[in-house]
Symmetry: C2
Subunit: 156 residues, 2 copies
DNA sequence: TTTAATACCGAGTAATTTAATAGGAATTAA
DNA sequence: TTAATTCCTATTAAATTACTCGGTATTAAA
């Protein structure tokens, strides 16, 4: 029941991109250095975000990535689902079906549990927009007096 | 972000135990057969439930397992945490601390996301009691006319 | 008193997934 | 032309998962 580094690193990268964006594209090498993530690995994560239409890549020198839409329109749920796949606690194609084809009922019964967990996770992450995290990040950074320290603790 | 078979099988086993319990202990071999789970593996799952004080083992012939308390007092959260460990999306010992020791704020910012996911998962599973699943199971079984079919679909 | 049924315990293992690393091709601003 | 960049695919070491296996201890019942 844990997110992988895809989700953890990827969300950090998205906050970094959104915070450090001006009118120019942000190069992955910069994000990688700021966040202490390997460039090669970060490329793979961002490829998923691009595939989901959350960021756009700009190729060539002075290229980089930009948000594909305003941060107010990108939810943490969009980001995490792009990185991790669906956030349901079980892989069950009929989680959302209404019929109950199970003979013994235990499976059907636990299905309601999985559904409720799934819904609560998705509600939680869809209720947080990237812009919320950007605002929080800027607030914390202002309080800290722009004391910029290199990341070492990667547990979260 | 998936539960393992420990959580999936283990919750099914707990519902089975609670449904099929009379005044006698229920042998794991019976649960294993009804649920289509290997006995050896089921033993390992139930060991965790016992360690958490959710079930009691009764050794010897005619032995088995019984709920350690009424099903009304056992939440799905208790069961899943016993089987899976904590249900937080990240392993972060300071998720619940109030100070923000991070230099760059991105880690601190994403921590709020992990906290909200964690809280929503735990709220969801703590709000469902084993007795709720037992009631639901009996209802479904009554509707189906006790058409008992061997489990084959193990995806949920 | 024996037997059979059961919980309890620890080691081992194949398959899968994760978390990268590595190296190159394509594109483009300077 | 060059350097910076995205883009793409393959490989790999380590960790985790999902078991299997083989036993020991305990106890009710025959």
């Amino acid at each position: 029941m844990k997110l992988t580094t895809k989700g953890r690193y990827g969300l950090r990268a998205m906050v970094d991109l959104a915070v450090n964006t001006d009118d120019e594209a942000v190069a992955l090498s910069q994000i990688a250095e700021r966040q202490g993530i390997s460039l090669n690995y970060l490329e793979q994560l961002v490829a998923r975000l691009k595939k989901s239409g959350i960021v756009n890549g700009i190729r060539g020198a002075q290229g980089g990535y930009v948000l594909a839409m305003p941060a107010e329109e990108i939810s943490v749920g969009d980001i995490l689902r792009a990185l991790e796949g669906d956030l349901s606690p079980v892989d069950c194609y009929e989680l959302n079906s209404t019929d109950t084809p199970c003979g013994s009922s235990d499976i059907c019964v636990t299905k309601y549990v999985w559904k409720r967990i799934s819904d609560s996770i998705n509600d939680a992450v869809d209720g947080i927009m990237l812009s919320d995290l950007v605002a929080e990040s800027k607030k914390v950074q202002a309080e800290a007096g722009i004391r910029q320290v290199k990341q070492t603790n990667q547990t979260c």
